[in-house]
């Protein structure tokens, strides 16, 4: 939806200027003029006492054909790309090939040259660079402003962001600013072969329901994508592309949050998404020391340990080890679920593992419903026995 001022009816009372939440209206020669910042929210239409602002329906049919290309938000922390960016590039390549368009990455930081080359090597045809000292660390206002401007100028058709704590902050803000829809935490993306629009599939209701979401009449079509789900892009050393510098200017007070400090908590950060073997424990361990036994098995296989949320909640292990809907999504070659009941929120994070092995005392535990191999028994007997065999 977009709005326009009916010049003949405008009395110049400037009520609309005050009511517009986006400061998009200015008075020129005592007539209201709607500027670029307008998101089409419609507040002014209802507020104008003289019915001088109307909705223009043609905007609903925005000229969608102007929007081209698939963009990936190249989230960096401390100058390193997040692993999900490489997954997004892999997915973006597939989507772009089906539509017949190219892939671009948008990177924000204080120094992005090395990252740009990395992004080319992972398949970006173009890299939009926003470089400014204020962009070193993520801040909502700064990143939103810079990327919003780039979207309005270069008009991408699709934007993918990682569903990280940063992507899930930035994505919603951008979607409102650019007056478009956003699908959260997607686990599958497809192109409709007929109209070339994107179909975004995501879990809702705590993983009990999957929904496929479309965004037919607004552009860009935006998704945040769950880390650990898509296949990584291939690295081609020396691959080149086109770098495009974005204009970056901030007014004073425009970035309204200040980072006082950044605190890293997890001494050793679990890197669950890359592990080929994960040995996870649940409340069935009985005590935090149980993870030491799991670690033995994980070490022997060259993998890592994981956990259910119940153990994290009990303070047995750091949250970075948590597998599931509110933890990490994993798809190792083998996932051992030891003393884990198999709640839907846990399954949501490990169901697509190649092989699932469940060890549980209770033969009716739901975890067995998804296990390739089920062992009913005490994990303190079974795991040492497996260690013997390896």
């Amino acid at each position: 939806m977009s709005v326009r001022v009916i010049v003949e009816k405008c009395k110049g009372c400037s009520i609309c200027v005050k009511c517009c939440p986006f400061s998009a209206i200015d008075m020129e020669n005592k007539i209201a003029v709607i500027g670029d910042a307008c998101t089409g929210c419609g507040v002014c239409v209802d507020e104008c006492p003289f019915d001088a602002i109307e909705k223009t329906e043609d905007h609903v049919k925005k000229d969608l054909s102007e929007y081209k290309g698939v963009w990936v938000f190249a989230e960096q922390r401390e100058g390193k790309l997040m692993p999900v960016v490489i997954e997004l590039l892999g997915e973006a390549k597939k989507l772009a090939a089906e539509i017949g368009t190219d892939v671009s990455a948008v990177v924000c930081g204080d120094e992005v040259d090395a990252l740009t080359h990395e992004l080319f090597a992972y398949g970006a045809d173009k890299v939009y660079q926003a470089v400014h000292p204020e962009l070193k660390n993520y801040r909502t206002d700064a990143y939103t402003k810079v990327i919003e401007e780039a979207i309005n100028r270069y008009k991408p058709e699709i934007i993918l962001l990682g569903a990280t704590h940063i992507g899930r902050d930035l994505g919603p803000c951008l979607a409102v600013r650019c007056d478009t829809g956003l699908t959260a935490d997607c686990t599958k993306l497809e192109i409709d072969p007929d109209d070339k629009k994107i179909r975004q599939t995501r879990p809702a209701f705590g993983g009990n329901l999957m929904a496929t979401i479309i965004c037919p009449n607004h552009r860009p079509q935006m998704s945040t994508v769950r880390p650990g789900v898509m296949d990584k892009a291939e690295y081609v050393a020396g691959r080149e592309g086109v770098a495009i510098r974005l204009d970056v200017n901030f007014k004073e007070d425009e970035i309204r949050t200040k980072i006082i400090k950044i605190v890293k908590e997890a001494g050793e950060l679990a890197s669950l998404t890359d592990a080929e073997f994960i040995v996870s424990g649940g409340l069935g361990l009985g005590n935090p020391e149980g993870f030491e036994l799991l670690k033995k098995l994980a070490d022997k296989l060259g993998g890592t340990i994981g956990s259910s949320r119940a153990c994290v909640d009990s303070g047995w292990i750091d949250h970075s080890y948590q597998v599931g809907q509110t933890g990490t999504t994993v798809k190792p070659k083998i996932y051992f679920a030891c003393g884990i009941s198999g709640a839907i929120q846990h399954l949501a994070g490990m169901q697509s593992s190649d092989y699932i092995i469940a060890i549980n005392k209770n033969e009716n535990a739901p975890i067995f419903e998804v296990a390739d191999y089920g062992i009913v028994g005490d994990l303190y007997e079974v795991i040492p026995a497996i260690l013997e065999e390896l």
């Binding site: 939806m1 939440p21 400061s23 929210c41 507040v43 239409v45 209802d46 660390n137 909502t140 206002d141 990280t164 704590h165 899930r168 902050d169 994505g171 919603p172 979607a175 409102v176 600013r177 007056d179 478009t180 829809g181 956003l182 959260a184 935490d185 809702a204 209701f205 705590g206 993983g207 009990n208 329901l209 999957m210 929904a211 496929t212 479309i214 009449n217 607004h218 309204r256 949050t257 200040k258 980072i259 006082i260 950044i262 605190v263 997890a266 970075s320 092989y355 067995f368 998804v370 296990a371 390739d372 191999y373 089920g374 009913v376 028994g377 026995a385 497996i386 013997e388 065999e389 390896l390």
Partner: protein, 261 residues
């Protein structure tokens, strides 16, 4: 100081069952609850009020008339007043529309210093409404808040990250979204329950908050649910038999046979 808390009534997704024949969600008989993160959001507001009796805490929801029950629960926990945005026109909203309606309601309520929301509702699961509402009100937002301290007209918060947290300072007015690590929500108090029964809940429709129906609900939503289905469960595999030693031996030889170890 005025604090507003956005709360949503949700089905308890732990109790949601799937109809095995139709493959659809069975919502009948599933209790409706205050969204868990929103209970943390409300607790954070009430804790600020505990320390400063001049603080007023309001709760706001968009939903069907039944949402009044949840608002009474919030009042019984200690909120001062409650607003319900309820209108046929609001139905079928995606987060674009939900945030637009909530923002219109907040504008009508008037000046507020801090707005709390939950990080994520357990039904829609998008975590988008908080930051989007802040954008529409043009106020700063901090998501994933796990600790809050109010110092004059500034708020210092811990923003949870995957591997730690950021300590962030922001001026009021601002919007903060709460995660469960923020606090332990209090229970309803008998005193407040009695009090809550006598309180009026303000109910507004689209005209009250000056939104035309085209800007609300399904009509205004850029996203549409194209189809929904129950997740395909991975078929049940093989249960191994025998003693722990036998099962382990069997397992390892099978995995070796599959060349996965």
């Amino acid at each position: 100081m005025k604090i507003l808390v956005c709360v949503k009534q949700v089905p308890d997704t732990n109790e949601v069952k799937i109809d095995p024949v139709k493959g659809t969600l069975i919502r009948e008989g599933v209790p409706s609850i205050l969204n868990p993160d929103d209970a943390n959001a409300l607790e954070a507001a009430l804790a600020i009020k505990d320390n400063d009796p001049n603080v007023k805490v309001s709760v706001l929801t968009m939903g069907p008339p039944q949402a009044c029950e949840m608002l009474r629960e919030c009042l019984s926990m200690g909120a001062d007043d409650a607003y319900l945005l309820s209108d046929r026109a609001f139905g079928g909203a995606d987060t674009w529309s939900t945030s637009n309606t909530l923002a219109a309601g907040i504008r009508k309520i008037g000046e507020v210093d801090i707005i709390f929301a939950g990080r994520q509702a357990i039904d829609g699961d998008t975590a988008q409404v908080g930051p989007q509402t802040a954008q529409r009100l043009d106020i700063p937002v901090v998501t994933y808040v796990q600790h809050v301290e109010v110092i004059g007209n500034k708020v210092v918060v811990q923003r949870q990250m995957e591997d730690g947290y950021e300590l962030i300072e922001v001026s009021t007015p601002c919007l903060l979204t709460a995660v469960k690590e923020l606090n332990e929500p209090r229970f309803m108090s008998i005193y407040n329950i009695v009090d809550a029964c006598s309180k009026e809940i303000t109910i507004w429709g689209h005209e009250d908050i000056k939104l035309s129906p085209e800007n609300c609900g399904l009509k205004a939503s850029p996203t549409q649910v194209f189809r929904s289905f129950t997740p395909p469960t991975k078929g049940k595999g093989e249960m191994l038999n025998g003693t722990a030693a036998e099962m382990s031996k069997n397992l390892v030889s099978k995995l070796k046979g599959l060349h996965v170890i």
